[in-house]
Symmetry: C2
Subunit: 253 residues, 2 copies
DNA sequence: GCGCAAATCAAACGTTCGTTTGAATCCTAA
DNA sequence: TTAGGATTCAAACGAACGTTTGATTTGCGC
């Protein structure tokens, strides 16, 4: 039986190579033979050490999410302890949740940008076993941060906060995945540059955090803005505040 | 040789089924046999009518993007003509770009939510041929809307606008894909409910457009906020305005 | 009714997939 | 030194993949 002492060489080299190949080619686009040949191990090594390809995929994430989840909980605990019962600021919650993530990208020992891009891509992966696995891994953390956001934005309906949490996850995972039409059209190759550069995470962080915070605190959509003064209200009025503002003629109805 | 008269039954039924299965299982997760058996056509029909699986995937998108691209250009033309040389408002640009997309989700004849979810998932698909195909299909439209945003936000650095365009695409595609950790944890099945409900697009639109607009007009990140009064400045100051605000102790450095 | 191209069909092509097997090594504790 | 479990290895497994073939059927102009 395996899993008693485990050889550090083969075991970890498989994980590292699989992480990088899953990032570059996706789960279904990466074969066992690609992994084992690049890791210079025998084809049977994956099944010996991990049991199956699916289990390998889960282990690739498990070793990273272990740190990420704990870090996120520890930071939230610290913030809430320091607040002594008072609600946190939205920026504090976002910094703890997304800042922790982006910090992984700066440290190759935590997976670096390779893992971050893999995570971004995998969050929209259709495979069932991946989604149920993620749901289990994320359940506790999401629950904690949901309620932290509820308390941080008491005037915004909770359902609205959930939508915006959803949108923020999208911005982040998409930006991390780095496979964007804009990048291709604008014309630089994200695969090599961003995947290996730890400074990419810092650059991204400076750009995306203000975007997320502003989105989270956006004015409420028109049909809901009636009652509730809402701490999310923006004083700026240089532009129409919400959807359905200017109707433009659609063709091909 | 094919492509002279084309039988409407088989040809279109393959496209419709492929669209739905690619949406549900992804490109690599959908086999020719799944498509042909569900469409009740012979296995060879796909290669006869489209040439290959890749060409089928491209055609699934081409017939939808044809409408989407033209509609987006027409709307932008109309807006700019009405503005008579003046810059558009950011909300107008977003409404034309993303509103047009969401309108597809309300109309099953344009693909409905099935196509929107497929589009959302595919934008982060790693396969090379998909990305290069999208780049070609989107090139003109992205270029036009890029410059419309540049003009709409003259005080925001163009590089910053591109980043935020990127983030907005992420929010949208992620929200459309509908495979979210939040949804799974919060616990409802997106596959059946959202995929067939045209009203889902309208609900999503009301939620996401204010989020996107606020993000687009967020205050600039700290190291860049020095000069430029920026039409993106928000009057609200109930919270720290940008990233790197409160530093929180990270562990496991 | 005939002729011919378009379309459909069953069957098989060669390849690659994830996984399993059983023997050959390696390493360590007795 | 020697057992014995841990690990590696070459080889093969059946299944599923996308694609191709060649015969058959269909539909329409003549």
């Amino acid at each position: 039986m395996p899993d008693q002492k485990h050889c550090p060489d083969t075991h970890d080299r498989i994980l590292d190579v699989a992480e990088r190949l899953f990032m570059a080619n996706g789960y279904e686009g990466t074969s066992m033979r690609m992994i084992t040949s690049e890791a210079e191990v025998n084809l049977a090594a994956v099944n010996y050490h991990f049991g199956s390809k699916e289990a390998l995929m889960r282990e690739v994430f498990r070793r990273r999410l272990l740190w990420l989840n704990r870090e996120r909980i520890v930071l939230l605990d610290a913030l809430e302890a320091a607040a002594a019962g008072a609600p946190l600021k939205p920026s504090q919650v976002l910094e703890a949740f997304f800042g922790t993530l982006l910090r992984m990208g700066e440290d190759p020992a935590l997976g670096g940008m390779v893992f971050l891009r893999l995570l971004g891509r995998t969050l929209t992966e259709p495979a069932d076993f991946i989604r149920t696995f993620f749901a289990g891994e994320y359940a506790e953390v999401v629950e904690r941060y949901k309620h932290a956001l509820f308390r941080a934005l008491p005037d915004v309906p909770q359902e609205e906060i959930l939508w915006r949490f959803h949108f923020m996850l999208g911005s982040m995972s998409y930006a991390l995945a780095g496979t964007d039409v804009l990048e291709i059209v604008t014309g630089y190759e994200p695969g090599d540059a961003m995947a290996t550069d730890p400074a990419a995470a810092r650059r991204l962080s400076a750009r995306v955090m203000p975007f997320l915070l502003a989105g989270l605190r956006a004015p409420l959509p028109a049909p809901l803005a009636s009652l509730s003064s809402s701490s999310a209200a923006s004083g700026d009025s240089c532009d129409a505040p919400s959807g359905a503002s200017s109707r433009v003629t659609p063709s091909h109805a």
